[in-house]
């Protein structure tokens, strides 16, 4: 696990959940991976209201722990891709601000991501290898074929 909050996986619903603890109290977060095509999954992060059961990502929680939430989502993504060998993730926020938030997280953890995963960004109507400092509107992530969990970082991948 990369870090962040402890998360739970519900096998019957195939959904991940964790509690965001911050200035506004406890907010239940859920992460669901929706199959789009073959082994490509869309990453959905949302808030769950335990009282009403309503799921939404249209509200900015502002719980003061955005970095922790992002780390948790990354850990969950890692867990999911390990469970679903050969899977790839499509990542796009519900709006430009959220997409930028994901981008910042990816850039911040680039040193960890780059050796292990193939990360692409969508910009100017084209997919391209992710570059730090470039603004993208969507991302595609898959595990590199020559990397397995437990493999030491190779100079060749730098």
């Amino acid at each position: 696990m990369l870090g962040g909050y402890r998360f739970h996986y519900n096998s019957s619903s195939d959904i991940y959940s964790f509690d965001s603890v911050g200035t506004k109290g406890i907010v239940r977060k859920i992460v669901k991976f929706d199959r789009l095509q073959d082994d490509l999954f869309n990453v959905c992060l949302a808030d769950l209201d335990p009282q009403t059961g309503c799921i939404s990502d249209s509200v900015t929680t502002n719980n003061g722990d955005a970095d922790l939430v992002l780390l948790t989502v990354a850990s969950i993504g890692l867990h999911f891709m390990e469970k679903h060998a050969g899977s790839a993730l499509f990542i796009q926020g519900s709006d430009a601000k959220r997409t930028r938030w994901y981008q910042m997280g990816l850039a911040r953890n680039w040193r960890f991501i780059e050796p292990k995963f193939k990360l692409l960004g969508y910009k100017d109507e084209n997919w391209e290898p992710f570059r730090k400092g470039t603004n993208y509107i969507a991302f595609y992530l898959e595990k590199r074929l020559n990397w397995q969990y437990g493999t030491k970082r190779s100079k060749k991948t730098r």
């Binding site: 959904i15 239940r28 073959d38 059961g53 193939k118 898959e142």
Partner: protein, 60 residues
Amino acid sequence: MAQKDPKKPGKAVFPEKQCLDNDPFFVKKRLAAIAFLDKAGYPPAELLSGQKGKAGMHKK
């Protein structure tokens, strides 16, 4: 939509996967992602690792 657990007031119980798949929220997200990729095109194979099933579709 997650359902309430009658034995635990305030505790949401996740329904089965199929129910969640059909939740309006996730349906909307899934359709939006599909629409985006249909328009933008999937990542081209030459950029990918060459894993099975990853062959990209050209942008329409």
